[in-house]
Amino acid sequence: MPSTVVHAGFALLLAAALLGDYYGRRALVALLVVLVLPEADSFLGPVMSGAHRTVGHNVVFPAVGALLLYYDTRVRDRSLVRDRLSDRWVAIAWVAVFAHVFAHVALDWTHLDGVNLFWPLQDQFLALDGEILLSTADGFVQTFVDVQIDPETGARSVDAGVTGSTETVHVNNPVEPRDPAIVTDEPVDRRFPIASSGWRLYLIGLGLFALVARRLQGPEPDAE
């Protein structure tokens, strides 16, 4: 997985970009908890096949959460959440959903075997990989989604990067450093990645830069 540090780096930047007046230490701590929590699905690995990148890494749970939050705070006459929490924490909850989807699920989607994006509705790991370019020879080219039309039958097949299901996919993590299906005598090597390539180090640096820049900024005049 891109490590939690990388997720946190990108999430810090998104938080600074979205929180506005609610930006503060307590909001950032709450956000970090939301970012780390889904990794707990690693610990479900020993009891449920392929749990990592499935239970905590899908878009179904955040979508349901967002719908409930929207229904409760905007549609209902009397909001359960607003009774207990201030506007500030409602805003932070929205940003947490945003950061979870973009900085955690989406980044893991691009890595190794990807994530089980629509679990529990559909058990299928998807990996986002490809490029988009404009070429003088081929025009617009994108290789993220592979659409093929069978020249004989005319049937269309779409491949958005399916890598398997919870039965077949195991994404290595520190709790289960290798696929349990593989039997070997090699000593167990648990690896805790911090940044395993240049762009991941960049995202960490980007988040820290936003954090430090926000601290160094002078106060804003009230009226201008």
Partner: protein, 218 residues
């Protein structure tokens, strides 16, 4: 080099994160323009040999601009820039400078084509790529910083070459060397990999949310 669209996306995210009360359409446009400005050295490479990722990817220009801005807004008595453009102008200038450095130069430095950081005083491209992890078998593994690395660089970072030996192809200049090659095939990359698509999508969504909020409150 990293596609200019991705630099624009990081620039937009920095604008949303750092502009504060100065956030509006025009300010975001200025910051995004600053983020993509370094990539203009690809145009210069049609005339100047090896200018791609060198001419505007060196640290001297932003360093000089930062010193001038700091002197004018913090140290100098006259503070001409502040007097003329006000608090808003100063904030936009600082954020634009950050976008030039972090989004424009930084993206190319980390694990991409590389940036010629000290050009033209010392000519060598640098690229920060490697890994940092903790392994129960091998302890801490770190390969980003390479002391005494081979190559032409003087910084402790891996160097893929100099402007003479290392040409970076772009859609403006497909072979990376001076001269117009009108017949050549050109490719304009929009995103090179999955994570870049995620960054672009996150930037679009962030701007949509921020501008949407403004319309609600106004």
């Amino acid at each position: 080099m990293v596609p200019t669209l991705v630099a624009a996306a990081v620039g937009a995210l920095l604008a949303a994160a750092l502009l504060g009360a100065a956030f509006d359409r025009r300010a975001v446009a200025v910051v995004v323009a600053a983020a993509v400005a370094p990539d203009l050295d690809a145009v210069a490479s049609l005339v100047v040999p090896g200018a791609t990722n060198a001419l505007f990817h060196a640290i001297w220009l932003p360093l000089f601009a930062a010193a001038a801005l700091y002197w004018d807004t913090g140290v100098s008595e006259s503070a001409r820039f502040r007097a003329r453009f006000g608090w808003r102008g100063v904030r936009i200038a600082w954020v634009a400078l950050a976008a030039f450095l972090v989004a424009g130069i930084g993206l190319d430095l980390f694990g991409s084509a590389g940036a010629n950081l000290l050009y033209p005083i010392h000519d060598a491209y640098y690229r920060i790529d490697g890994q940092l992890l903790f392994s129960t078998q091998e302890g801490i593994v770190q390969t980003f910083v390479a002391l005494g690395a081979e190559g032409p660089g003087i910084l402790p970072i891996a160097s893929p070459g100099t402007t003479g030996s290392y040409a970076i192809p772009t859609w403006v200049n497909p072979d990376g060397r001076p001269g117009l090659s009108l017949g050549a095939d050109r490719e304009l990359s929009l995103v090179r990999s999955g994570w870049q698509l995620v960054v672009v999508a996150a930037a679009v969504a962030t701007l949509a949310v921020r501008f949407g909020q403004r319309e609600v409150t106004e």
